[in-house]
Symmetry: C2
């Protein structure tokens, strides 16, 4: 009996072309973030259960892939009916960043501009487009309470999309403080805030009439109508919003102003008074990136000034965003921007074992000029080696037989046209580089 | 009570300079492997327990970080005293590659030249220099039984070391078939092969006299003396070796010949008749990279024609090698090749919120010219912003106050000398680029 070759449900393998496309995207993201002065951090994939569960425990419990205790500790845990697990896989990059900053913050630049790209794991039911192992790309500024931090994070993320050739997304902005002020002003009692936000958050997916009906049932008809007028208006009524929280509106206007001034697409930055982005995490401005070819968001973020509180570090202002990497890859694949990557410039065939050294010498010379040259390992039939060159999507196949070796030349075969010509190594280099 | 900020024992966080150094090394490795026509593959971090344990089970059991079953499956497992775990973290990259090739091989180029770089996890006791999460870099050719595959893998790994500025390692070569032939010829019975190899493998760590003593006790004095003469000779006796296995010696000589012919350091490739590289894995040539500043090896590999047998795929010839990435990073750090990485070219200060848009505009213009420009988020005191620029190890701090904004210039402060000068954005770009 043989063992199954499929990865576990919700986990994926990637074929070489996919790996190349994902790698290139990650390299572009890294390069852009670095060009803004963000520094990449890295933490372990595995965290202590206490870190993952936090003080509250419960909430994240079902998300976590838990690691079984080992050796005697496991035997003891089974016998005493205690926790069977002491470690778990991280389910996001924010909690590890909070731990990281609490530990190393005093030796890091202040403020600390960080980015982190890596896999996270969630023990959720796998479904189309939802994986149990996926890549997150976070970018954060820790230690600044200036609205300039939001501008910097959003600008950097927009620069990533631009560098990847993705259409400029629509950037929606709101402020958690503004939401609460508007709810207050509409007469929603404090204990109804979260239920009201949960209903309003469905505006994207549910008909407006249904949202209003649910809202009326939850907070009363009067407050629901007031909320409709302020939060669901076609064009946001700045005066109405400002009368709820002048401070929050001024801050949002500053952020929007700086983003519009620095962009070729100022129309793409909009105030969205009903944008929620989760319910207990953010403490100030929130933002979300939308792209016409996706139904949901392409990323988002916000201010979370409570980042490090679980780790006993004093109040730390922080603001961060993240790109939905798996969704980004969907867009790049659909746009055909993930094709033809990773092919070698040429395949060097091996005519015979006796002539291998000359072939290796020429391959090394071409690599020295910056070309990628794939040497076929065995002296198989040339037909088979040409087939391999096709499979690798190489531009050229190179042959050095006894005649070529004696004359100091190389036979260069263009695989698209089938055209062949003997030439010196220098000429071959120029020919291949011209296409590469 | 606050939660601990230290990663679990044996796991590591990396500070930004370390991340940059590790990232640069991985990028160099990838670039070199790609230039040889190797294609990067990627598999999931998590595998089914059946894949990790293989047919035999047992052996790897203690190495694996096992993932607890979830929900009802866990309750059932506890009640019925069955396996508590269904998944585990991969402990190497070879087993996943075998699964990958068994599943996708028919749609991949033939032969398939693959590389894989990523973390693996081992539930071993953590100790100095031994981690429970570490990076492996594997490079493999699957589907070729030519000795050209060995030449290609070893040449590519040597090219990696050269591109990283590491001294050319000594490359030791041997062949599993030769070892067994020599043992046979010395009169070691088949059932004593593995114990004899285990003893001979200690030649690096244990005195030669002790090795001989143990060997005599295990296989008898006569065979031990015969082995000493052939396997432990100062200079390998090719005739003696060839009389044991002419085929294996011819193959090793072909590999050595091609490596020497293609290298500027032919002296660094040596036949090492006592090199073992593990006991049940490899089936043909084996090799190991040694570096003067390390006591152990810097990497190694060999031929393992049984790669895919657990997955029901017919006999697949394969040959691969790997670099000891954590040891490589030690060498790079000691050589100071991991310093000063990831610093931005300049920090743009924010004189005031009113002048922020102009500062952002100039920063964007400089980034457009390929420079990395780190914008300070808030309009803090300039002294604090200069301190930040020092912390980031930036070359320059840029200031745009009301006077500079009015004149369309930028104040450029060289942080090493403290020298300051107002200049146009174009001049600033040239100045910063000259140092960058």
């Amino acid at each position: 009996m043989s063992i199954a070759t499929t990865p576990p449900s919700g986990f994926r393998d990637f074929l070489p072309a996919q790996v190349a496309a994902r790698h290139d995207a990650i390299e572009t993201i890294s390069r852009v973030y670095r060009s803004f002065g963000f520094q990449r951090v890295a933490t372990s994939a595995v965290e202590d259960s206490s870190v993952l569960l936090g003080k509250g425990g419960g909430e994240n419990d079902k998300l976590i892939f838990k690691i079984l205790k080992r050796g005697e500790a496991l035997d003891r845990a089974i016998a005493e009916k205690k926790d069977l697990s002491d470690l778990g896989l991280r389910f996001d990059l924010t909690l590890p960043l909070a731990r990281y900053y609490s530990k190393y913050g005093s030796s890091l630049p202040h403020p600390f501009k960080a980015f982190n790209i890596g896999p996270v794991w969630r023990a959720e039911r796998a479904q189309k487009g939802r994986y149990r192992e996926f890549t997150q790309c976070d970018v954060d500024i820790i230690g600044s309470d200036s609205w300039g931090a939001e501008v910097e994070v959003i600008t950097a993320i927009c620069a990533v999309f631009s560098s990847l050739g993705v259409d400029h997304p629509t950037v929606l902005l709101n402020d958690r403080a503004l939401i609460y002020a508007v709810l207050d002003r509409a007469g929603v009692p404090a204990d109804k805030r979260i239920p009201a936000c949960v209903i309003l958050d469905k505006l994207d997916k549910v008909e407006r009439a249904k949202v209003l009906e649910d809202l009326s049932a939850e907070v009363g008809v009067g407050p629901a109508q007031a909320l409709e007028k302020i939060m669901m208006a076609e064009t946001p009524d700045l005066n109405a919003l400002a009368s709820a929280s002048c401070e929050a509106v001024t801050r949002l206007q500053s952020i929007l102003g700086a983003l519009k001034a620095g962009s070729k697409r100022p129309d793409r930055f909009v105030l969205a008074p009903s944008l929620m982005r989760g319910f207990d995490y953010y403490t100030g401005p929130v933002f979300e990136f939308r792209h016409p070819s996706l139904s949901g968001s392409l990323g988002g973020g916000g201010r979370y000034d409570n980042l490090t509180e679980n780790f006993g570090t004093p109040h730390t202002p922080a603001c961060g965003g993240s790109i939905g990497f798996e969704r980004l890859m969907l867009i790049l694949e659909e746009a055909g921007k993930a094709d033809g990557l990773g092919a070698p410039d040429a395949v060097m065939t091996i005519f015979s074992d006796e002539l291998r050294s000359r072939a290796l010498e020429v391959a090394a010379a071409l690599r020295g000029k910056g070309l990628s040259v794939d040497v076929f390992p065995g002296a198989a039939k040339l037909k088979q080696q040409f087939k391999y060159a096709d499979q690798k999507k190489a531009g050229y196949a190179l042959v050095i037989g006894p005649d070529e070796a004696a004359r100091g030349v190389v036979q260069v075969k263009a695989l698209a046209s089938g055209e062949e010509q003997a030439m010196t190594v220098e000429e071959a280099c120029a020919r291949i580089a011209a296409r590469a």
